[in-house]
């Protein structure tokens, strides 16, 4: 059987700020190397999407100007179908602005409130100073603790709602709000995170988890993602973590 995945890349011409393209590329590559057919569908302003069209949705982050253009379309045009998909267990990865947009609202530091989708119960407060730094997190997957390397750059502090689960534990960096030690959120098969870098290429455990969730949902719980080496990715992650921890890579001058 030839498996096929459709990746819906939401607003790629507006939300593409911090290497978001790398996340889509990683999903494509690790699926294609396993012989799975991949189609990437652009879902931007003027493009239609219905529940059932896509197996994995990706929403990135953008500059304020672009994000405002997107926000109107998301609230008024695509919001309801995105909410439906999330409830139905479609796999979503949302980064930075996309993550904030899934929540209830974004409150700017002057108190002005921007209504968001309300697909998930978190909310975000804007602060003047930004968290801009390399990051290291841990996630639990299949009973194992895995280290994840990334980068964060956000002025928003996100607070999870009652009972809302975080995605990762912060080892280095700030995460959701710099206070509670957690990063991102997970609800059903939807993930929100501030981590870019890009997130997926260096962290194939997350890439494979998203692929596996999407393929199991499509082809049944018995579906097993074929084995695929993570050697190159592991090397890149290890080097990044060594650099972040100051173990190597100081300039000579």
């Amino acid at each position: 059987m030839q498996e096929k995945l459709v990746i819906g890349h939401f607003y790629p011409d507006l939300l593409n700020l911090y290497g978001d393209r790398g996340n889509v590329l990683a999903l494509m590559r690790r699926a294609q190397l396993r012989g799975i057919e991949v189609e990437v569908r652009r879902i931007s302003i003027g493009d239609n999407v219905s529940n059932g069209d896509i197996d994995i949705g990706f929403i990135g982050g953008g500059q304020d100007c672009e994000q405002n253009i997107m926000a109107d379309d998301m609230r008024n045009v695509k919001g309801e179908v995105i909410k439906q998909m999330i409830e139905d267990g479609v796999v979503f990865l949302t980064v930075c602005g996309g993550y904030q947009m899934l929540g209830r609202y974004y409150e700017e530091h002057d108190g002005k409130r921007i209504e968001c989708l309300g697909a998930l119960p978190h909310y975000t407060k804007g602060e003047k100073d930004r968290f801009i730094n390399d990051t290291i997190y841990e996630i639990e997957t299949d009973g194992q603790t895995v280290t994840v390397a990334g980068f964060e750059n956000h002025s928003g502090r996100t607070y999870l709602g009652e009972g809302q689960k975080p995605f990762m534990k912060v080892i280095k960096g700030h995460g959701n709000n710099g206070e509670d030690g957690y990063e991102g959120t997970r609800y059903k098969n939807t993930f929100g995170t501030y981590s870019h870098g890009s997130l997926l290429p260096k962290n194939p455990v997350i890439t494979d988890m998203l692929l596996s969730l999407a393929l199991k949902r499509k082809y049944g719980e018995d579906y097993e993602l074929p084995e695929l080496s993570t050697e190159t990715e592991d090397l890149a992650r290890k080097q990044a973590i060594d650099y972040i921890n100051g173990k190597e890579g100081k300039a000579s001058q």
Binding site: Y18, G19, E66, G249, K250, Q253
Partner: protein, 479 residues
């Protein structure tokens, strides 16, 4: 405030000490002078003929081109050294660079590369005659933020001068600065026919579009319609809502799209649409992006000559075009350095579109034997290396040279980036191994062929030191 003289003296002393210490004295003297006399730039700039060059990409190359062109036209040109484009570097240039003895003041021109954010602060003090804006591409995002904000900063600076604006018509963000300033703006860019022909001959073969900015009209929030594109967000655009479109170009570059602008000696035409004059020219610094830089330089020099002379406009344009023949490659910008019978060529890449253009250039270069990518993440580079994923390596991967090496503080990230484009890596390692990798590349390199090195900013500085120390190359980096 009678502090100009002591400030100048302090700057000269600082420069002397730094030179004795063997350091390039390109910014510190100016910093000392500014601290002693905060309006030193205004005082120095008073009454001088100044051309500023700003924008995210191509500043240094275009500044270098304009400098050579004006020199060959008999002007005494004073210019800042590459990269010293903040107020401190500009103050240093005023204080420490001297015109030759006996030059009459009306023959002296200051050609100043100016950082985008710094421009807003010092345009009023400089009062330039000509402000050239090359383009606005996403840069180090942890430093500047919004591109529209950068545009507004530049526009604010321009509004505090009476300068003539020379703007890239194909860049919607740059061109939009002329919207409310029509009488002062002149535009340059590629001819629509050239772009159309280029798009027809080289159709987009990307599997995943490169991330691009400014494809939406910031005023209307509506996607531009593009009749044709050149690279990044540059092209012939029109907003279907407000009707804002690529302005008519006074200076237009056209070429045979079946040719290869990565070849040395590539031929093209420049047309002054105002007078209908066309000049045949030869590209002096290879690379398709340097067509834009050349076009910008010709536009700026012609506008400068017009501000100086009453003469026939077509003659002044021809003079500017002819003067472009004097341009030579500058180090770090396409200059090939001989190592025995082989070459290395360093192309500084600072941001996604810069890397995209350099990869394209290397992919099209017939003498490329190896590619070496060197990625650092110090503050001056931007600490976030995510941007390497915004670049479309995928469509170029099969045309890149046979051997690819990777180094720098973030060699792991770059190695994975290359691997994900489907190419194998022949060697990688941290900066300590950069010259070892380079030696390895050189030993495999056939005579006459070239190793192209693409470092970002601090990686280039680091590499420069290592090439001198460990490869015993002479210090070719002349400030």
């Amino acid at each position: 405030m009678g502090l100009k003289a002591p400030a100048k003296a302090a700057a000269k002393i600082t420069q002397g000490i730094l030179r004795l210490m063997g350091r390039g004295a390109t910014t510190l003297p100016g910093r000392v002078a500014i601290s002693l006399c905060p309006d030193i730039i205004r005082k120095c700039a008073q009454g001088k003929k100044i051309i500023t060059i700003t924008g995210t990409n191509g500043k240094t190359t275009t500044t270098h081109m304009i400098t050579s062109m004006l020199r060959s036209l008999g002007y005494e040109v004073i210019t800042n050294v590459s990269g010293a484009n903040l107020p401190s570097g500009i103050a240093t240039t005023f204080l420490c660079e001297k015109p030759a003895r006996g030059v009459t003041p009306d023959k002296i021109v200051y050609v100043l590369e100016t950082d985008e954010a710094a421009f807003a602060r010092i345009a009023k003090d400089l009062q330039p005659k000509i402000c050239l804006v090359t383009n606005l591409f996403r840069d180090q995002l942890d430093r500047y933020g919004e591109l529209t904000h950068t545009r507004d900063l530049i526009a604010k600076g321009i509004d505090e001068t009476s300068a003539r604006m020379v703007l890239n018509a194909d860049d919607s963000l740059v061109a939009s600065m002329g919207k409310t300033r029509e009488g002062r703006a002149t535009y340059f860019g590629l001819s629509l026919n050239t772009m159309l022909e280029n798009n027809r001959l080289h159709p987009d073969n990307t599997i995943l579009a490169a991330s691009s900015d400014a494809t939406f009209c910031p005023d209307c929030g509506v996607r531009y319609n593009y009749n044709a594109t050149s690279f990044g967000h540059l092209g012939d655009f029109e907003c279907p809502s407000c009707g804002f479109r690529t302005p008519d170009k006074r200076y237009e570059l056209s070429y045979d799209a079946s040719g290869n602008p990565s070849d040395e000696g590539f031929e093209f035409d420049m047309t002054d649409t105002g007078t209908g004059t066309t000049c045949s020219m030869t590209l002096k610094i290879a690379g398709s992006h340097n067509l834009y830089n050349t076009c910008a330089a010709v536009a700026a020099v012609t506008e400068f000559l017009k501000s100086e002379n009453e003469g026939d406009e077509d003659k002044l344009f021809e003079q500017a075009c002819r003067s472009q023949g004097s341009v030579e490659a500058a180090f770090g910008r396409m200059e090939k350095i001989a190592v025995g019978d082989k070459y290395i060529c360093i192309l500084l890449v600072k941001n996604p579109v810069g890397l995209d253009r350099s990869l394209s250039f290397v992919a099209q270069s017939s003498d490329a034997d190896s590619l070496m990518l060197v990625l650092n993440s110090n503050a001056a580079d931007g600490r976030d290396v995510s941007w390497i994923w915004d670049v479309d390596f995928e469509s170029k991967a099969k045309d890149l040279p046979g051997n690819i090496y990777v180094s720098g503080q973030r060699y792991g990230d770059m190695m994975l980036r290359v691997a994900y484009s489907g190419r194998n890596i022949d060697g990688y390692g941290s900066l300590e191994y950069a010259t070892t990798l380079l030696k390895c590349a050189l030993s495999d390199c056939p005579a006459g062929k070239c190793i192209y090195i693409l470092p970002n900013y601090t990686a280039m500085l680091d590499l420069r030191g290592r090439l001198v120390k460990e490869l015993k190359l002479k210090d070719f980096w002349k400030d």
